[in-house]
Subunit: 340 residues, 2 copies
């Protein structure tokens, strides 16, 4: 442990597609934990698409970041100094911290990380917010029934890959959209999706859906928006449920995007479309964590993390989300178990 | 009673805005009721926006009409000949019949009309399919809570005018969009809506909503689509419910209409949007009819019908729906109580 900390701050609000000019790495002193807090040396930090929204001005569900503020998100780290009885130095924990080498976290706001269940970085993905989003979003908003066809966009991402596997466990036919053959291969060969469509090499999404989901779509778990979603909406079955989890295709839009009007399509099939935020299920996070942990520990729920090395590359890891660089959860390795 | 019947048939499928060329009046013999059927002399027939969909080829929730087929819809009429023990000649009934002077209806498929409760034509509106649509659509899909703000498009129509009044009974603030000052005056002065917006004379719907619905929109009951709906979606509150009942602004579109993408707007507020068809509540129609009948009988639920005189003018009555000619329910008077 040195006395120097580095942390990323928002240098400027991006317009449209962000680039590295939006970020600035600042050197600071290592913070000191207040009573009840932990000083954590960050092992991994999470970059997530929803953070693009926090770079905008104006209220939304997550407070906007201010220019000059340190960026924050999910981290996994090792307690190096404790001002709380709840954790000891050397414990691995996960919580919300700055994009930095070190962070102070309220001990009440962290959860333990058990390396016997999964590698620590999995606590930012399948065992973290994305896993819980998949769990509640699919089960509570998508409400899959055995025999249903579940279509997932962004299917090889942190959320989508979990959604598809839980849907398979529920006896559904599962079809995923992803952007590379490596991803679609992982979905079908690694995760037992029934079909996967490479949306970058497929011209006619409706025809691809007719082949992959011949009985239509009962549940659509949407992480993406745009033309994939336009196609899926034309194939919704009676009483279909659409969980709108993310719309990454539109996060960099500066103007309100336009597209085919979808409301007229909802009437004949009486489909329901619902926006989803995992925070609404906060009182039930324990249930999800326990179930997801069990499935991961037994190998029934598979997961991947794409690791970018080095805090200095965190902005690139974030920007890569918008070009689909990640398979599974995108994380940044900030330090290793040996403290380097 | 003569031996001649007239009935309207579909002469051609319209492209875009329909006109009278789509309709042809045919003379036929008065039909004879089969066992279990009633011969009914039509007093009033109903024209409804959803019928535009039946003029298209292709399956939807209502079977398409074929070119050459008699048009069908809700009617109220007097039993003039009966082959069923359930009704006597002289009884007033309502059911689904052809757009004609006479129709045969299965006695099992009709309901009695009680002129002590309301004028017979009300059984095609507030006490018919539109009233039941409003009842279930608002209560089961919109799920209003006391203090909610409920916005209704097409608010002076057969469905919207009932939606708003039931919402008021549920302790909601109610705002309606309609297309003439006569309509908006009726909403606020006749039906006690809290505010009404004339969408034809208002430029900035969002600003109008900010004034009329200063606390945002908790329930949106949409009969119309288009720019009104675009504006309302920008004002949805947390956990807002949108009941998509009709999209009359788009029924004559030949291409899929485009507009602002709405799915990104659903995430921050976790709104749900659901397509609505009243037939899904068929097992509970008795409950709705009883409740609506009570409210109408006591004067608590007000209603209007716009009457076009004469079977020969039925197509014009139908076409008028798309220019907003009707206040309340649009019906056609086919014959009078004296049989003329």
């Amino acid at each position: 442990m040195t006395n120097t900390n580095r942390e990323w701050l928002l240098a400027a609000r991006p317009e449209g597609e962000p680039d590295t000019d939006s970020f600035e790495l600042r050197e600071t002193d290592v913070p000191t934990p207040d009573p009840g807090e932990l000083l954590v040396q960050t092992r991994f930090l999470s970059v997530d698409p929803y953070m693009r929204g926090r770079m905008r001005e104006g209220e939304s569900y997550a407070d906007p970041w201010n220019v000059g503020d340190a960026l924050k998100g999910g981290i996994v780290g090792e307690v190096v100094e404790t001002a709380s009885d709840a954790y000891d130095a050397g414990d691995l924990v996960t919580g919300e911290g700055t994009w930095g080498d070190y962070a102070t976290l309220d001990a009440d706001d962290v959860a333990p990380v058990d390396p016997a269940v999964a590698d620590p970085e999995a606590y930012l993905g399948v065992l973290g917010m994305p896993g819980r989003t998949a769990y509640f979003g699919l089960l509570e908003v998508g409400r899959p029934k055995p025999g249903d066809t579940v279509v997932v966009s962004g299917a090889a991402g942190a959320v989508g890959s979990v959604v598809g596997q839980i849907a398979k466990r529920n006896g559904c036919r599962v079809v995923g959209f992803a952007g590379t053959d490596e991803k679609t291969d992982w979905l079908t060969d690694g995760l037992d999706f029934d079909a996967a469509i490479n949306y970058k090499t497929t011209d006619d999404y409706r025809a691809a859906l007719d082949a992959a989901a011949p009985d239509g779509v009962d549940v659509y778990f949407d992480n993406v928006g745009g033309p994939i979603t336009d196609a899926v909406f034309t194939r919704l079955n009676l009483d279909a449920r659409v969980a709108v989890c993310g719309q990454i295709a539109h996060y960099n839009d500066e103007e309100v995007p336009t597209g085919p009007r979808k409301l007229p399509q909802l009437i004949p099939v009486r489909a329901s479309v619902e926006g989803l935020l995992v925070g609404d299920f906060a009182t039930r996070f324990g249930e999800a964590s326990e179930q997801l942990g069990q499935w991961v520990a037994t190998g029934d729920l598979r997961h991947r993390e794409t690791v970018v090395e080095g805090l200095e590359n965190a902005p690139d890891a974030f920007l890569g989300l918008f070009s689909g660089d990640n398979i599974g959860k995108q994380v940044v390795r900030v330090s290793s178990a040996d403290g380097e």
